[in-house]
Every structure is written in structure tokens, then in C-alpha cells.
Amino acid sequence: MTYTILGRCARTGRLGIGIATFSITVGRYCYGVKAMTGVTVSQAFAHERNNQLALRLLAQGFSAGAVLQRLMGNDRHASYRQIGVIDRDGTAVAYSGPGTRGWSGHVVGENHVAFGNGLVGPEVAEAIAAGFLAEPAADLEHRLLCAIEAGRDAGGQGTRDRHKPERSAALRVYSHHPYADIDLRVDLHATAVEELRRVWTEYKKYETYYRDRERNPKGAIGQEAFMATLRAAEA
């Protein structure tokens, strides 16, 4: 019972994940994204070694399709996994094993994979893909968050008569560095997607300030002083 969007920005080559689920602390599964390499998630019955293996294969230059075959060939319980992979050329593939539960499936297109399991129906995956494609020129992180919110609004997880809440969510985007540009998480919350939006909205106000104070500590004002400027601007 998870729904996920993997995405790549064709213009900048940035790679990212948006994810929300009934499980808690799902952000810890999202280490399968690496600058100039690719992005992948193994969910449903998560196989924790898959992400790093996929990234190593992608880093050597294997295509997304070949990597997916290699992951499945390397796993006795492949039929219980749900895996998405995008390589750095933007080729996207996905697999939803028969052993996954509830409605489980994926929508795959150039530079994106929208997929989930334990969902109310295929309309959730379609809504996620549509959410990602709605604003092609926007920043990747914005598109990924909108995709997850679209999945929630289309019914999200559970069955038609018994909805299951998202209890954790995460948003990660990499560009060229060995560290993330955006790395936000909600590990335990009754309405995790709404909380992720709140965290995102708050964090975006600080993003430039945090980057500038790293580059130019001498000239950096204190964080409280910065927040005072925020309050002044919002007043």
C-alpha cells in the first residue's frame, strides 16, 4: 500500500522520487537516487539490497530495462516486489509482481514511472502520471509533489469502502552533487501528504538562505534575523 512517482527532468537531467504510504518512515527506502546515474525504488515487499545494486548497474551504463531484469533474476521472491527504474537517458521501466497486494500496477512514460500497490484502483496511478506531466516546465520537485497529491486526491490506498491513510511520505531530488538538492520527509503523521506539503512550503522559504550562508558565511545573517525578514515579508 504505497504510491510513488519516479521522475527525471529532461532539461536539466535532475532525478527524483515522490512517495507516500500507509507504512511509516518510508523515506528510509528512498536512497535509490544518484546524480548523473538514475533513480529506482523497490516497494510492496521491499528488497532492501535492490536500490544500491540497481544504482551500481546504472552507473556502469546498463539501461533501465537490463537493470530491472538483473534485479529480478537476483531475487527468489521477485514476484512479491514492485520495482521502478529510470536511467540517465530517461528510459523508464517498471514491474508489479503478482504477489503484490490490492490493486497494484504502474504507468510508465518517458522520464517517469507512476506506480503503487494496495491502491483503490488504476485511476490512482493514472492521476499520479497526469500530475507529474501537468507542468512540464516546472521544477522537478514541484512536479513530483503535485504527482503525489494527485494520487492522494484520486483515492490513494485501501479499498473503495475502506481508505487507508498515508502515514509517511518523502520527496528527494538530485542534480549533479553527491548530496541531494531537496531531501524532505514525514516519517510518522496521520495525514503525511498534507504534512509533506507544509514541510515543503516552509523549507522552500529557507532554501536560498541555507545555500547562501554556506557559500558566504562571513556575510550570512543569523537565522533568526532571516526569519524576521520572512515574517516582515509575510506581514
Binding site: F22, R49, Y179, P217
Partner: protein
Amino acid sequence: MTYSIIGRCARTGRLGLGITTFSLAVGGRCEGVAANVGICKTQAFPNRTNDPLAIGLLAQGHLPVRVMAMLAANDSEHDYRQIAIMDREGRIAAHTGSGTRGWSGHRIDGDCVAFGNGLVGPQVLAGLIAGFSARPDEALEHRLMRALEGGRDAGGQGDATGHRPERSAAIKVVDRVDYPEIDVRVDVHATAVEELRRVLEEFKAYEEFYRQRGRDPARAIPQDLFAKQLEARRAGRPS
């Protein structure tokens, strides 16, 4: 204004980082934690290239003190950074730059190093170390949690104008496999340390269920059923 602890479990060899701060989403800036290699965390005015660079240099076999010298040579603003490095043998190097703000400092104590800036005073480091050392038999993640609570209870962050709340926090523990065993975070919250305790306890209740589910999915019960059973067990036991 951040206070952190890097610690090593002598029994298992696991390494971990506990961190909390007035800034937001600090957990998203802790990539310098690598299994079988070590941990490097740069804070105060962080230089984001420091931690991956340090991990790369540790992996090549440089000692923490040598890595610290190379980070200094590579950074014209080294005086504004506060950095702690621990390798997989538990060797430690720490640096508190003259440009860091408020009361700032670090203390190395056996298998851990406590370090912080913008603090109410050295007692916060003492609180971190006391928390970490209180129950040496406990799992590393619990020792790191106690350390953060120790730092908080010793006054945490603040200056003459008053106390600063912890608004984000995180704990990361690595063992032998190349992904974190424990990776819990609070990104935006008014009392981040208390919230992190709640998230950690909940995760520990699910940890084994999640591990089994990945290893042997055929026999895994649905998670909502597991959640109900967990609530029932908790309800049965007076908290």
C-alpha cells in the same frame, strides 16, 4: 545552533549520528554516514562538499586527523565550519572554527564525540555525553536518542536573548550493509526531539515486521493487521 553526537557501539561495530537543530530538515543534510567507512558531519555554516569528500578520503584509508587537514586546505571558509569525523575503528577528529556563532565547542569521550554551536554552554555537551554513556548495553540508536534528550535537558540552543527550540532532528545508524539500519527523521516540528523519540519508538515496533516482510514476503501478514495487533498489545499493557 545545532548539537550532535557521533557514536560507535564497541560491541557491534555499528556507527551512528544523532543530530538536532533550530534549522529545518537537517536530516536531509546527513549524507556523510557510510557503512564500513565512517561518519563526517559538517555543521554551523555547513560546506556540503565536505562530508562526501571526507567519506571518500576515509574510504581510501586516510586517518580522521589527516582528512580534517585536507578539508581545511580545501575550504577558504574552514573557520566557519564545525566538523566531526569518526572512522570505522572509532578514531575521531573534531574542529570548531573561530567563526562559529554563540557558545560552540566539541568534546571527545571514548566511543563518541559531542559537538555543537549556538548552545547555552558546555553543559549541553556534558548532557549529550551523559545520555550516550548512560546505558552502554542498549542498542546504539537508543543511546543516540538518550544523548539528544540529554543535550536538550541540559539547555540545548540559545543565547542572551533566550532559548531556541529544536525544529528538526534525525538519527542514522549503519552496520555492515550499504544502507542505513536506522534512519528516522523529523523535518519540521516545534519540539523535534520529543517527536523523534515518538517516531523512533514506533519504528522499533515495526522494525522486525518490515525486515521479515522483505526477506520472506510469502509469510508476511498485511500491515494493517499488524498495526491492529500492535495497538491491541499496547492497549493490553499499561503504558
